[in-house]
Each structure stands twice: as structure tokens, then as C-alpha cells.
């Protein structure tokens, strides 16, 4: 046991499985790498995660293909399915695992999206989850009706209002609204259907929802933003935070901050799970794991990828540079536009970034490729299965997290080894389920409080009118 204090109850670890994404960490140049779009890949990924008793699987969202310097980025995996459609398909071939999709509150409408999430919850028997994101730039907007319209400052107010309207719709049918009594001829009790009538700065929605309450009534809400606005939204409305803070000390600081915010609003501490993203590399010995980590990081940062990372800062053609040599001496070309579109890394001050990188590389004796590996191909947990299991458990028991979102490095088999070798170690330590509870919803699997039931009197018209 690695639990630090004797009086504290042992926490159960929660794990999510992240489908390999469209960035450089997903290795495609390897023979194990299969189609990024064939359903067989998704089925394998989901069924393996379910074999490992993961709480949920997690999918990112594609709104537009990434670009670098005005061209479609071609060095990483490109292309993925529609998030809701593939989750609905996976609902058919899994039985217990949660199905969490990333879906924008900017490029969707609450009436439609809340209905789709309720549909997913019905189809999966209560396993739907929604990672709310607030992407809102004109680059992604170019594929959507609303185009380039949302001020940065309105992103979270729109997300909050979107969530509030969705909640009203999910809450608008009483639990017993469907009667389906053939003899009396009453299919639905109309008194159990509330009219939603919402008028706010972002949305005007008037009407009846189209579905009776789904098994969870609300999907599990996941939030990934790290800003103060993001943390506030999570505190008020989320069930899970998908965080970036897998490092132990940073994780503890974040955990303290967020759980403190929960205390302030009177929410129980365990009603919001904090799951940082984490990668892993296994070996029979520590040395073997380190060697594999080195090999895989070089697959994750090809020579072309290393140059591309630099070009996003330098904003000019650097293809003539040797990636095994030192960083360019020339300064970045500064423009208002910047280089990369549709990706997470944004360099606000290219000259400062270039200087910092040069200093770091020369201090450590790093080549271009080694520098890029140091930030773009880092592996969170590297070691034997026992080491990785114990490290994960230590993070959880000592409140640096409630578990992790595990990201494999190949599609779709990247997590097979984790399920084969790390999961049994966690189970042996009594900190991770050996099976799902029969018929459990995702709320129940995550140990979250159930969403309140609704009777006809609580859905009656006026209760749902908001201004």
C-alpha cells in the first residue's frame, strides 16, 4: 500500500481512455498503427478499454483540419469521425464503459445537442458524457453557420447558458411522463411535459423537449479549460475535470484549488473528479522502459515534425536546417496572424520563445529534435507495470488527482498493454474495480451523485421559464 496517512480512506482510482488524437504523439509510422477512421479501430479501442474496466472512453472533436502556415498540416494523423455518430455506434458494441465526447458550445445549438446527448444516453443505457469546449475562432467558424462571431469574453457565458438551457430541456419531462397504457389510450401524461421558454443573451429557445428522461437524465459533464473562467464553470456545473496537471506537485496545487472552490459553493469534494491527461511507457525493467520511451519519442517527433514545430514559432521556412544540429540563429518572422491554426500550442511572443528555446538547448546540449522531444513527446509514467501502477496510486491517494485520462501512442492498440499489465497491478492493490456494477450508469461508475428526479409538479410550465 502506498496510501500516506493511516486514517484516510483508500480512494478508488478512476480512469478514462483517450482515443489517440491528431497530433504528433500518435505514432502512425509504426506497423501496429491501423486506420484512423475504420470502425474496426474504434471497436477495438472501446472493447479493450472496457476489458480494462475504464470508467469511460474519451473522444476529441474535429471542427476543421489543422493548418500550418496556410496549408493543411500533413505530418500527423489527419481525419476523424463525427464525435456523436461514432459514440452512438460504440454504444452498440459496448455494455458498461462511459462514452464521453468533446462537443463545442459555440458551433452547436442547445435544443439539438441536448437531444443528441439524451439520445446517446438512452442508446447506451446511461453511459453518455459531454466534454464542453468553447472553441470560437473564425478559423473553425468557417465551417459553420455562425461563422466568426463570438468574442473571447463571451465563450464561457455562452457555454454556461448553453448548459443551463440544455439542463432545462433534460429536466422538462417528469420521470413518469411516459405511460404507454394501451387500455386507457394514454401514451404520455401531458401534465408531465414542461414547456421550456428560455430567453437570454445567447439563446432563445421555446418548446418541448423530444425525449423522456434518459437513464442518467443529464450526461456526465466534463470540462477541460484551465483558466479562472474554466475553473469557475467546472465548480458550478462539471462532474469531471480533464486537467493538464499530471505532474505531482502541479497536480496537488490544482487539486487543492479546485476542491477548495467546491467547498466555497457547498459541493461535496468527491462530486467533481479531477483526471489529468497522462501517457505511459512500459518495460520489463526501468532501463528497458527508458529505452522504449526514447525510441517512441523519436517516432513522435520525426525530422519533419521537429522542423514544423520550429516553423510555427519562426514563421518561415526552416527545412534547410539539420534537426540533429543546433537551433537557428536567425530571429522569427513576426506577423499579426501567426503560423499554426486549429491546434493547442499558441506562441504569443515568438521572439521570446525562440530565445528561451535557444538558451535551453545550448544549456542542455540539445539538438533541434531533442528540444522538440522535450516538450512535444514527454511521457508521464515510464517504468515497469508495478512502478506505473504505484505511481498512479500515489498521485490519487495523496490528492494530486482522482485518476487519469490515459492516452496511448498508437491507434487502436496503444492501451492494450496498459490493460494487460498495469490494470491487474491496480486491482491487486484494491484501488481499482475488478468489474463494473451491473447496469451502472456513468454517474454511478464514477461515484457521482445521481441527478435529481423530476415529478410532474417540478416540470410544470412556469418552473422552466427563465429570462
Amino acid at each position: 500500500m502506498t496510501a500516506s496517512s493511516s486514517s484516510k480512506p483508500v480512494k478508488q482510482i478512476h480512469l478514462a481512455a483517450h482515443f489517440p488524437g491528431v497530433n504528433n504523439t500518435t505514432v502512425w509510422s509504426d506497423e501496429r498503427s491501423q486506420s484512423q477512421i475504420a470502425f474496426s479501430s474504434f471497436r477495438h479501442f472501446a472493447q479493450n478499454a472496457e476489458r480494462g474496466k475504464f470508467d469511460f472512453l474519451f473522444l476529441a472533436e474535429g471542427l476543421r483540419l489543422r493548418e500550418t502556415r496556410g496549408l493543411i498540416h500533413d505530418l500527423d494523423v489527419v481525419g476523424r469521425p463525427n464525435t456523436l455518430a461514432i459514440l452512438a455506434a460504440l454504444a452498440g458494441v459496448t455494455s458498461n464503459i462511459g462514452l464521453v465526447g468533446t462537443l463545442s458550445s459555440t458551433f452547436n445549438e442547445p435544443y439539438e445537442l441536448s437531444r443528441q446527448l439524451a439520445t446517446l444516453d438512452h442508446l447506451s443505457g446511461g453511459r453518455a458524457g459531454w466534454n464542453i469546449v468553447t472553441t470560437s475562432d473564425a478559423f473553425h467558424g468557417a465551417n459553420f453557420r455562425r461563422g466568426k462571431f463570438l468574442d473571447l469574453a463571451d465563450r464561457y457565458s455562452r457555454a454556461q447558458e448553453f448548459f443551463d438551457v440544455s439542463s432545462q430541456l433534460w429536466d422538462s419531462w417528469a420521470d413518469d411522463a411516459i405511460v404507454a397504457d394501451k387500455a386507457s389510450g394514454e401514451f404520455a401524461r401531458t401534465s408531465g411535459l414542461g414547456l421550456v421558454d428560455h430567453h437570454g443573451p445567447q439563446f432563445d429557445v421555446t418548446g418541448y423537449a423530444t425525449l423522456p428522461p434518459s437513464p442518467q437524465r443529464h450526461p456526465v459533464i466534463v470540462q477541460a479549460g484551465d483558466s479562472p473562467d474554466g475553473r469557475d464553470f467546472a465548480t458550478s456545473s462539471a462532474d469531471v475535470i480533464f486537467s493538464r496537471h499530471a505532474d505531482f506537485d502541479a497536480g496537488r496545487a490544482f487539486y487543492d484549488d479546485v476542491k477548495g472552490r467546491l467547498d466555497a459553493v457547498g459541493r461535496p469534494r468527491d462530486s467533481l473528479k479531477i483526471l489529468p491527461a497522462a501517457t505511459f511507457i512500459l518495460g520489463d525493467t526501468h532501463a528497458e522502459a527508458l529505452e522504449r520511451s526514447r525510441e517512441i519519442s523519436r517516432l513522435q517527433v520525426s525530422p519533419q515534425t521537429a522542423i514544423s514545430f520550429l516553423e510555427q514559432v519562426w514563421n518561415t521556412d526552416l527545412s534547410g536546417y539539420d534537426v540533429e544540429g543546433p537551433l537557428p540563429e536567425i530571429d522569427p518572422v513576426v506577423t499579426a496572424e501567426g503560423g499554426a491554426k486549429g491546434r493547442a500550442y499558441v506562441h504569443t511572443d515568438p521572439v521570446a520563445t525562440a530565445n528561451a528555446w535557444r538558451e535551453q538547448a545550448s544549456a542542455k546540449g540539445w539538438s533541434i529534435r531533442e528540444l522538440v522531444i522535450s516538450f512535444a513527446a514527454k511521457h508521464t509514467f515510464v517504468g515497469t507495470p508495478v512502478f506505473v501502477a504505484e505511481t498512479i496510486n500515489r498521485h490519487v491517494q495523496e490528492d494530486a488527482s482522482d485518476g487519469f485520462v490515459i492516452v496511448g501512442n498508437t491507434n487502436p492498440t496503444g492501451l492494450d498493454e496498459f490493460v494487460d499489465r498495469v490494470i491487474p497491478e491496480l486491482q491487486e492493490r484494491g484501488v481499482y474495480r475488478t468489474d463494473y456494477d451491473e447496469g451502472a450508469t456513468l454517474h454511478e461508475t464514477l461515484g457521482l451523485p445521481a441527478v435529481a428526479a423530476r415529478s410532474a409538479s417540478t416540470v410544470a410550465g412556469a418552473a422552466l421559464v427563465s429570462a
Binding site: 470502425f39 452512438a88 439563446f203
Partner: protein, 416 residues
């Protein structure tokens, strides 16, 4: 066979198309929101060799007609999102076309196109899209983006009411744009775009991906799709149409048009109107338009029993069931005979709407299909690997692949 190939689709909706169908003994009204119910229906259809199923949907709670929204509890109310339901079914039932209804009026064309494309990947080539517009003002209030005055099909049919004509032109114009966007997005990746070329570090050849650059009155879409080209390339587009403007949409953009003839003369008249529409509108699809007829089907062992069953349902409903399509309440043999008459009149297939589910689906699969098979009417190549192939459509050419500069240069240099 000297006859043209004939195809069979089943339209799934709730407990069946008759509003009182949920009350019959065999109905499963409490299961309408469970995946299992739908999967069992599609398994039944697939086993009988039905070519495709469609799944009804609307952008709001069901209501009768196009007037003011009426909340009533004596009919089936509530519906799963058809596109998502289709994806669940597709993951479990191979080898049958799955064609969900998605409206073009309030939805994002990009999401609809990628959702249908994903369905094509999940089903490994059996996806279609039943395109619908939303002409109900209460549905517009679900989005609050614009007001839509109530559509009145009776007044739009004559073309005399200017406001109604403008409305229907607007709704169907937007639908045409949405299909155009979808078709371009479906082609926006060439089949061989993924190259995994390790020496150059490139996963894709980006010259084989294409911006669609669509700009229309209601939306603009840049592209390319986020989804690589799907097994069919172009999933099958189905449009149900009853009058001039929808006929024009079907002629321009659909693979199959569903029509609702009520008699032989009416069928002839509709085919004539479609022919006229073909003269007015440029077709943007390479295969010729297929015409399918629609009917509500209720089957009993005798014609009298079928009439009595329909009367009993009408009695429960409190009024005769009014449908846009003809209601065939009859024996399996007589229903089959009607379908064969349509085939002889030049119709390429039917979309049958079971009055009661699962009952009339089973009576079609176990009663009507065997009769049609005896006559050899149904064309069902068992080795078809996609819905397009099953229906006899040509493999979908990619509009961008054929327009590639080097292809053009090759053609040019060859002709010099």
C-alpha cells in the same frame, strides 16, 4: 428478367405509421426509446433481404399537420435522434441500407455531412440520408434564429400564394445548398489521400484534400471534411416529394425520390411532373434519378380482415387516418400485386410504411417479400458490398479527383 430492377425500402417510425398502432397487442410502446427495439426491427428487415430502412425524425416533438403545435398524449410522443440511432444500428446489423432523416433547416450542414459520412464508415458502405426540411414555426422557435411562418402544403401546391411560395422556395433552396455542401465534403478527401510516407514524414498527401469553399445565402462552409472519404464516397440521398419545388430539389440533388401516388392516373401525373422538372433543373448527380413509390401498409389474411383492422385502429384514433401516401390495407398477395403494377408503370422501388410495428413489418418480410421473390421482381445481388452497389448505382466518382491539375494536364497533353 426483362423488367427493370425493383427495390424495397421500409420506413420505420415509432410503433408504426398509424397513430393508434401503439395500442395493438403486438406493439411495444414502452420500448421505443431502447436501442434493442430498433435493432430487432432492422434485423428482421435485413434477414428478409430488404434493401434499406429509413428512420423518421423531426426537429421537435411530434405534432399533426403544419399548423399550431398541439400537445397531445394519446399518440406516440418523443423520438430518438435518427442519425445517432442509425449509427447504433449500423454497428450491429450489417448488409442493409440505413437511412436516417435529418432536417436541413436548423442544423449545421457540416455536422450533418460528417455524421452521415461516419455512418457510412460504421456500416462499411450502407449509409443514406433522408433529407427533410422543417416548415413548422414551433420548430423554428427551438433555435430562435429566425421565424418561419407556418407552411401550408395545400396552399404551396397551387403556387398562387406568394408568401407560401417564397417560403417553400427558401426551405428547399437551403436544402439544396445543404446537400451540395454534403456532396462536396464527401468528395473533399480523395480515396488515396492517406499515404503514410515515412521518408517525407507525411501522413497525407495534402494535394488530395480539397476545400469545398461553399458560399450560400444561409451558410458558408470552407472544408475539407474532417472525415476521410467513406466506403461509398457518396451515401445515397433520398428525398420525399409531393409537389413542384421538392420535385426540383430531387431532380437536382437526390439519388432516389419518394412519391405518393394514390392511383394509376395520379402516378402518371407525378411522373409527368418529374419529367417537366428535369427540363427546368440541372441535375448535379451523375446517375439518373430513381423514382420510388410510397404506401402505408396494413396486412391481414383477407381483405375484409385488413379493412376491419384499419377501421378498428381508426376507431381507437377517433378519426380516419389521413396520410400523404396511399393506405394499402389488404392481403400480402394483393399488396405485392400493387407493387408489381407500380414496377410495370416504371417505378424503380417502394418505401413501405408499416401501419403497425413490428406486426406489418413482419407481414411484409414474411408475406409480401416471398411473393415478390416468386416473380423474380426484387433485384438483390447477394454479393453487393455497399448500398450503392445493391441498388445498382455506379461507383461514385470524386468531383475533385477528376479535376486534379495533373489529371487535366495529362488529358491536355494526350490530346495535343
Amino acid at each position: 428478367m426483362s423488367r427493370a430492377p425493383f427495390h424495397l425500402g421500409i420506413a420505420l417510425d415509432g410503433a408504426g405509421w398509424h397513430p393508434a398502432a401503439w395500442r395493438v397487442d403486438t406493439a411495444r410502446p414502452a420500448a421505443l426509446f431502447d436501442a434493442d427495439y430498433w435493432v430487432s426491427l432492422v434485423v428482421e428487415a435485413q434477414a428478409a433481404g430488404v434493401d434499406l430502412v429509413t428512420i423518421e425524425d423531426s426537429f421537435g416533438l411530434q405534432t399533426n399537420g403544419y399548423g399550431a403545435f398541439e400537445l397531445r398524449g394519446d399518440e406516440v410522443r418523443g423520438r430518438l435522434d435518427a442519425l445517432l440511432l442509425a449509427n447504433t444500428i449500423a454497428a450491429l446489423v450489417p448488409g442493409i441500407g440505413i437511412v436516417p432523416t435529418v432536417t436541413t433547416t436548423h442544423t449545421e450542414p457540416f455536422h450533418t455531412a460528417t455524421g452521415i459520412q461516419t455512418l457510412d464508415h460504421v456500416s462499411e458502405g450502407w449509409a443514406g440520408w433522408r433529407v427533410q426540411v422543417s416548415g413548422r414555426s414551433h420548430e423554428a422557435a427551438h433555435v430562435g434564429r429566425r421565424e418561419i411562418p407556418a407552411l401550408d402544403p395545400a396552399r404551396t401546391a397551387t403556387g398562387a400564394d406568394e408568401q407560401q411560395t417564397a417560403l417553400i422556395r427558401q426551405l428547399f433552396g437551403e436544402a439544396a445548398d445543404a446537400i451540395e455542401v454534403a456532396r462536396r465534403l464527401w468528395d473533399s478527401w480523395e480515396d488515396d489521400a492517406v499515404i503514410r510516407d515515412v521518408p517525407t514524414g507525411r501522413f497525407i498527401d495534402r494535394d488530395r484534400l480539397h476545400y469545398v469553399d461553399f458560399e450560400g445565402e444561409n451558410f458558408s462552409v470552407k472544408g475539407p471534411s474532417i472525415v476521410p472519404r467513406s466506403p461509398q464516397g457518396q451515401p445515397v440521398v433520398f428525398v420525399l416529394a409531393h409537389q413542384r419545388v421538392p420535385y426540383e430539389l430531387a431532380v437536382a440533388q437526390a439519388d432516389i425520390v419518394g412519391i405518393t401516388p394514390h392511383s394509376d392516373e395520379h402516378l402518371e401525373q407525378i411522373l409527368g411532373e418529374l419529367g417537366d422538372a428535369e427540363l427546368r433543373v440541372e441535375r448535379r448527380v451523375s446517375d439518373p434519378l430513381r423514382v420510388w413509390a410510397e404506401a402505408v401498409v396494413l396486412i391481414e389474411d383477407t381483405r375484409e380482415a385488413a379493412a376491419a383492422a384499419l377501421a378498428a385502429l381508426d376507431e381507437l384514433h377517433g378519426a380516419p387516418y389521413a396520410s400523404d401516401a396511399v393506405i394499402l390495407a389488404d392481403t400480402a398477395e394483393n399488396v405485392a400485386a400493387q407493387l408489381l403494377r407500380w414496377q410495370q408503370a416504371g417505378v424503380a422501388g417502394v418505401r413501405l410504411r408499416p401501419a403497425r410495428l413490428p406486426l406489418d413489418l413482419e407481414r411484409i418480410t414474411r408475406g409480401v417479400v416471398p411473393v415478390l421473390d416468386e416473380t423474380g421482381a426484387l433485384e438483390r445481388p447477394s454479393d453487393a458490398s455497399t448500398l450503392r452497389e445493391r441498388l445498382g448505382f455506379a461507383p461514385a466518382a470524386n468531383r475533385y479527383a477528376t479535376a486534379r491539375p495533373e489529371t487535366a494536364e495529362l488529358i491536355e497533353s494526350a490530346s495535343r
